[in-house]
Amino acid sequence: MQIEQKSWKDPVLIAMVAPLAIVMVVFFLIPLLMTAVLTFQTTQYYRLSWTWNLKIWTEVFSKPHYWTIMLRTVGMAVVCVLLCVLIAYPAAYAMATRLKSYKTQIQILIIFAFLTDAVLKTFGWILILDKNGVANWLLMHIGFPPEMLNLLFSPAGTMIGMVYNLVTYPMFTIYLSLVRIDRDLVLAAYDAGASRLRTFFEVTLPLSRPGLYSGAVLVFVLSLGAFLEPRVLGGGTSPLASELIRQSFETRVNWPLGAALTLVLIAIGALTLAVSAALTLRRRPNQRSAA
């Protein structure tokens, strides 16, 4: 593919880049800055007052309640990442190696489920997980005691919803890095006498790392903002950061506090992204020499 060097004086480049860049700056970057600015203000009688001080930040850092919830959110995100990767990897591997002739159909099925209204899907999970729901009914009919599972309105219910809504991302990133692996490398390992298992751990798995890592980071970052799942499936029993943010906006009408909590969560996500980017960039040179 040929690549064109373009200068900013070129009207074609400006026409292609400027509208999108302006939208993203005005409605994404500036709002982010605005959020940061708001954390230095306070509210009085439910109204924002422009007083520059650190009151909100001292409140955020002095209340352990907030940090318990933040920690729980991060913990849930970590578990969610592990589950998503464990579920997505074998399936992506099977799609890349065993089910090549059905891959279009499978991918369409996955994309379609992904695009279906998340609120409706979550409602579907209520019907399944409820004490009198589909899951318990099926279990009872194959001989288990009635009302065996009690997952709705518990952290487990939240987790099922989170994994359900996010597992699609690592599924695709892992699949994409698996299909890009040069088949000859795997065959060379077999020729050299390596077993299937050894080939997998020494050739396939390291080469699929980019997809694995990017999928994991994506799930982590996106699960920090999980809101529907803890509220609808978790029943609000163990609230996550999103619930805290919603309360500070809706119940307490304290924008600066909501902004500060949002910013903390964004900072956690951004830090994770930065660390993983640094790790993959550092790893790249020796990976190239290995390949």
């Binding site: 593919m1 690549i3 064109e4 060097q5 373009k6 900013w8 074609v12 026409a15 292609m16 999108l20 860049a21 993203m24 700056v25 409605f27 994404f28 709002p31 605005m34 959020t35 997505a88 074998p90 399936a91 099977a94 190696t97 065993r98 279009t104 499978i106 991918q107 369409i108 994309i111 379609f112 489920a113 695009l115 279906t116 209204d117 609120v119 409706l120 899907k121 979550t122 409602f123 579907g124 999970w125 209520i126 019907l127 009914w137 359900y164 599924m171 299937r196 903002g225 809101f227 529907l228 609808v232 943010i245 906006f249 924008w255 909501g258 902004a259 949002t262 964004i266 996500g269 992204l273």
Partner: protein, 277 residues
């Protein structure tokens, strides 16, 4: 264990994992479809009788059609903008090199890495402050802006795949034959990218149609379909929501299948016409 048996076991486990995953994806969807035809008010198994009464009940809710209309308008406008921005962005990402390109890439990709709720909250703060100064309040317009910011990166990635597999010798050939820049674009570039653009548009429409988080933050008093469902199930479950889910599925399925088949056929054609790259 004989190696042959081991192979069969491995294959079964791997293929089984895909089937289990698909079952996992479709469990709530199938459940919803099944319950939409129940004749009873309670949503538990066994389903007692078949009826279409909940579809009637859904349609007769006074706030149902306004929500559908809002969702449709928002999705249509968001689709147009997200697809146009995504297409232009994809070409700039892949085919051009320019100063500050890495900044452009970061800014246009970042919303994909943002939890939707936070994206919504951050934009809500901005619109509220702006609204205080300029005297407007959040509503469908701000929802559209939010959706465009959130969905454009998805559209960009989908079109970028098409741009990446693009045979640009055809453009050179057209240029050599004396075509102007606009003619090259109209006759060669656009038709070749069209399948990617088309499926990005479908994807954008459905992402916007089913979006809850961004709409919830930015809609103010307006209601889209997912907000209609959310505020409904917060009060109590009713079989009208399974009915709504089922109604939702049919057009969406048609759209997704058309777009994907179309795009994949074009990609295959392209990679077949390219010398092995």
């Amino acid at each position: 264990m004989s190696p042959r048996f081991k192979n069969i076991l491995l294959d079964t486990l791997l293929i089984g994992s895909v089937l289990v995953l698909l079952l996992f994806f479709y469990a709530p969807i199938i459940t919803l479809v099944a319950f939409s035809f129940t004749s009873s008010r309670v949503l538990t198994l066994p389903i007692e009788g078949f009826s279409l009464q909940w579809y009637g009940e859904l349609v007769s809710r006074p706030d149902f059609f306004p929500a559908v209309l809002n969702s449709a308008v928002v999705a249509a406008i968001s689709m147009v903008f997200a697809t146009a921005f995504g297409t232009a962005g994809a070409v700039a990402w892949i085919r051009y090199r320019f100063r500050l390109q890495s900044v452009f890439r970061a800014v246009t990709f970042a919303p994909l890495l943002f939890p939707q709720l936070l994206l919504g909250v951050v934009m809500l703060l901005w619109f509220s402050v702006l609204g205080n100064w300029l005297g407007f309040s959040t509503g469908l317009v701000t929802v559209v802006i939010g959706h465009v910011v959130y969905i454009t990166p998805f559209a960009l990635v989908i079109v970028a795949v098409q741009v990446y597999g693009f045979d640009d010798t055809l453009e050179d050939a057209a240029r050599d034959a004396g075509a102007t820049g606009w003619q090259v674009f109209r006759e060669i570039t656009f038709p070749l990218l069209w399948p990617g653009i088309f499926s990005a548009a479908i994807f954008a429409f459905l992402l916007s149609w089913g979006n809850f988080y961004v709409s919830y933050s930015l809609a103010g008093t307006a209601r889209t379909l997912p907000i209609f469902v959310y505020s409904g199930i917060a009060v109590g479950s009713s079989p009208i929501y399974p009915a709504l889910a089922t109604l939702n599925l049919i057009p969406a399925l048609l759209l997704v299948v058309t777009a994907e088949v179309f795009r994949r056929r074009a990609l295959k054609r392209q990679s077949a016409s390219l010398p092995s790259s």
